[in-house]
């Protein structure tokens, strides 16, 4: 069990050279994933997806249908895994949990006044406890980006620690909303704060702000996870979310995880994709590999 350390023990974050990061990422993108490794990789990607709906117009009916898809991705073809989890608003957790009884699909709930995080700590804790009580297995919180940019790192740290406490047994994913942090130096700093304050997972984005999960940002966060693991031997999970909609990009993310963190992270315990349209593109690629031809997108359900 991870215990948060105090803020003043937080190590200095190393500086990040953006040009160097871009070069490194370009190397991952020239990796050629073919044949058997592609087929295996696509299965892995599917099993790592957090199927997501986070809209004002979400209803229990909509969530129920998405949950069915979570464990019936493409029944026309045998041998497709389930996704890892569904990701919904706290008010939809109960519906999702009910719909997923008897499956291995987890329910993740966003919380802490998602997506802006502009609320009081009391409300954020209440929000989190509500989601956990409704049955959420995982909590996706947002950090207070305003406070971070003000330089109130201490505040951000304490907030994450208090939400971690409110999570109980639920795993905590901390969303940095990197599109609002702007620099990779900030991304690294926020990653370190989140990890040391008690995050089980760090996550790039809410999906509401662009740019979201660029490979540069994900790489920077993976390096923070790597450094923490080297220092403590404790594994932290990673979830890029938003903007990963093609199989190719997803496979490049796997390449990056493999080469930075190693194969121990290549499972849905430690790596997730937050995405809504990625699953269908992966299914389309799998069917292409199996049948030799591309099928119309109308053969793949859109829930």
């Amino acid at each position: 069990m991870k215990v948060p350390i105090s803020f003043n023990k937080l190590p200095n974050s190393p500086s990040i050279d953006k040009v160097g990061v871009e070069e490194r990422v370009a190397r991952f993108q020239t990796r050629s994933i073919k044949n058997e490794s592609k087929r295996q990789g696509l299965d892995l990607v599917l099993s790592m997806i957090d199927l997501t709906t986070l809209e004002g117009k979400d209803t229990p009916g909509k969530v129920k249908q998405m949950c069915y898809k979570a464990h019936h991705l493409h029944d026309a073809y045998e041998g497709v895994p389930n996704v890892a989890a569904v990701c919904v608003y706290p008010s939809m957790v109960r519906s999702a949990k009910t719909a997923l009884i008897g499956t291995d699909v987890k329910v993740a709930s966003v919380s802490t006044a998602f997506p802006s995080g502009q609320s009081t700590r009391e409300i954020k804790i209440t929000d989190t406890k509500f989601a956990v009580d409704e049955g959420a297995d995982e909590i996706d919180m947002v950090i207070s980006r305003g406070k971070f940019l003000e330089g109130e790192y201490n505040f951000v740290f304490d907030e994450i620690a208090s939400i971690k406490e409110a999570c109980g047994k639920a795993r905590l994913k901390v969303i940095l909303e990197t599109g609002e942090l702007c620099t990779l130096d900030n991304v690294r700093k926020a990653s370190d704060i989140a990890i040391y304050a008690g995050a089980d997972f760090i996550k790039t984005s809410t999906g509401k702000i662009q740019p979201a999960a660029t490979m540069q940002v994900t790489y920077t966060m993976l390096m923070a996870i790597k450094d923490y693991y080297d220092a403590t031997g404790i594994m932290i999970g990673m979830k890029p979310a938003g903007g990963i909609s093609t199989s190719k990009l997803a496979l490049h993310n796997l390449v990056m995880v493999k080469e930075v963190l190693g194969n121990n992270w290549l499972n849905n315990e430690w790596f997730r994709f937050g995405a809504s349209s990625l699953a269908n593109d992966v299914l389309m690629q799998i069917m292409k590999l199996e049948t030799g031809v591309y099928q119309s997108s109308d053969y793949f359900s859109i829930d």
């Binding site: 190393p14 994933i33 299965d43 194969n263």
Partner: protein, 489 residues
């Protein structure tokens, strides 16, 4: 209900072989000498084999030029210079160079596959670096050919005449481009000799040159061993020698041409310092160390083969470096996922292994990548040595392989002194977040090229060359153009 697939995770997930196709390339069983735009049999009647260093298979037989053949090539160049090329308008010259660049681009895939087969370098590098950069050199100098009076204002310039060019095996096509493009742009004719282990892409370039319609004799390519090179160096009708290779041979050349009036540019060996300060972006610096020493299996004259790490971060940097080394893929150079290819030749592999033994016997601590070596071919694991001193041979002598010697330093003055304490002075790298520190070091390091927060970056517009025993003269940029011109008197 459909059967579910349980995914256990990617414990064993790895990249399947992804070999670049060789079906689109043509390698002839035998290559002659390229003189006067014709393929000429060598008067020596001798041929030598060129092999693929990654599997030791013979690729082709190459003509071995002797004194007579070289004389034929020089005469062809001289006649072409007197009768055609010196009378061709600069604008026309520019068109030919541009056409060569375009043809190289069109045949880029073929060139990169042949380069990889013949030299052992990973296809990723020949495809993404060597060949595009070679094309860019031709494009760049095509632009200067008709603008010499703007390149050197108020200094009327003229060509030297016939240039003899001898190039090494580490970047076969790229070095040919570095040599030929500026020579043609300045209005010279050329006799070029590729290295004996890597003649193929230069001969492909000869095919392209013929196809471009460049007048016969302007570029001649004579293949062979050291004696062929010596025949070029000693030929009385050559105006300039451009040589890239070892410092030993460079010294021999300089002795040979002393008093002959031949001009020379020599781009020789190096033992370049890569310096990491404690405020550097560490992970990117580690990437720069890897790129500095393991790029092209360390067969790079400007390789960052001496690493200086500030003592307070040495442990961290070395740990990260070892981890990064373990994620490098070594193997078939034709595989698109290969990071480390084959050592260019058996002789070179023996040299590298000799130095590794020296390193061990000097008491340095060795670490090698965990990757497996293929059963055939010439391969060497990425290797680093820690606990190295300034007086260790592995930190003084050029190894020209994937072997890095690591020293620690404490202060800025100390590292400047140590970095400069080498007979070589080709390149250096400085990694720090402080701009002022970068300028302080770049003005005090005696090296021809200094990279800040990056390493091994090349561009046709940027001059390249060394201090001290790393040679003299510059290639690339305006400096590289000037090296093929003289003031009109």
């Amino acid at each position: 209900m459909a059967k579910k697939k349980t995914i256990k995770g990617g414990d064993n997930w790895d990249y399947s072989p992804s070999l670049e196709s060789t079906s689109h390339i043509t390698i002839l069983p035998k290559y002659e000498l390229f003189i006067n735009n014709e393929w000429v049999k060598p008067s020596s009647k001798k041929y030598f084999k060129t092999t693929n260093p990654s599997n030791e298979e013979v690729l082709s037989e190459i003509a071995w030029a002797n004194d007579y053949d070289v004389d034929l090539a020089v005469k062809a160049a001289r006649n072409a210079y007197n009768d055609v090329w010196s009378k061709t308008s600069p604008k026309e010259r520019s068109k030919y160079i541009y056409r060569i660049a375009r043809l190289m681009q069109e045949q880029a895939r073929e060139l990169s596959v042949i380069e990889t087969l013949d030299a052992g370098k990973p296809i990723r590098e020949s495809r993404d670096i060597d060949v595009p950069l070679a094309c860019n050199h031709f494009f760049y100098y095509a632009g200067w050919a008709d603008k010499l009076e703007f390149a050197f204002p108020n200094q009327p310039m003229e060509a030297l005449g016939v240039a003899g060019q001898i190039i090494p095996w580490n970047f076969p096509l790229l070095m040919a481009a570095w040599k030929i493009a500026p020579a043609l742009a300045a209005g010279n004719c050329v006799v070029l000799k590729p290295a004996e282990t890597t003649s193929l892409t230069a001969l492909k370039l000869a095919e392209i040159i013929k196809e471009s319609g460049l007048p016969p004799g302007v570029v001649n390519i004579v293949t062979g061993h050291g004696d062929t090179g010596a025949a070029i160096v000693n030929h009385p009708d050559i105006n300039k020698i451009a040589f890239t290779g070892s410092t030993n041979v460079g010294k021999i050349i300089q002795r040979a041409i002393a008093g002959t009036g031949k001009k020379a540019t020599l781009e020789l060996g190096g033992k370049s310092a890569n310096i990491i300060f404690d405020d550097a972006p560490i992970d990117q610096a580690v990437e720069g160390i890897v790129n500095g020493i393991f790029f092209n299996q360390g067969h790079v004259c400007c390789a960052g083969s001496r690493l200086f790490v500030q003592e307070n971060i040495a442990e961290l940097v070395i740990r990260k470096l070892k981890h990064r080394m373990d994620s490098l893929y070594l193997g078939n150079p034709l595989d698109k996922n290969t990071d480390i290819g084959a050592i260019n030749s058996k002789e070179q592999l023996e040299t590298i292994e000799k130095y590794i033994k020296i390193g061990i016997s000097e008491g340095a601590e060795m670490y090698q990548s965990t990757c497996e070596l293929p059963g055939k071919g010439y391969f060497c694991r990425p290797t680093i040595f820690t606990n190295v001193a300034q007086s260790s041979r592995i930190s003084q002598e050029e190894i020209f392989g994937p072997v890095l010697s690591i020293q620690t330093f404490r202060t800025v003055d100390e590292v400047i002194q140590k970095a400069n304490n080498s007979p070589y002075g080709l390149a250096a790298g400085v990694w720090t977040d402080k701009g002022s520190r970068i300028f302080n070091l770049t003005s005090k390091l005696r090296a021809g090229v200094i990279w800040a927060n990056t390493y091994n970056k090349f561009d046709p517009t940027s001059p390249f060359g060394g201090y001290k025993e790393s040679g003299f003269g510059r290639e690339g940029g305006l400096h590289g153009l000037g090296a093929y011109l003289k003031m009109k008197l």
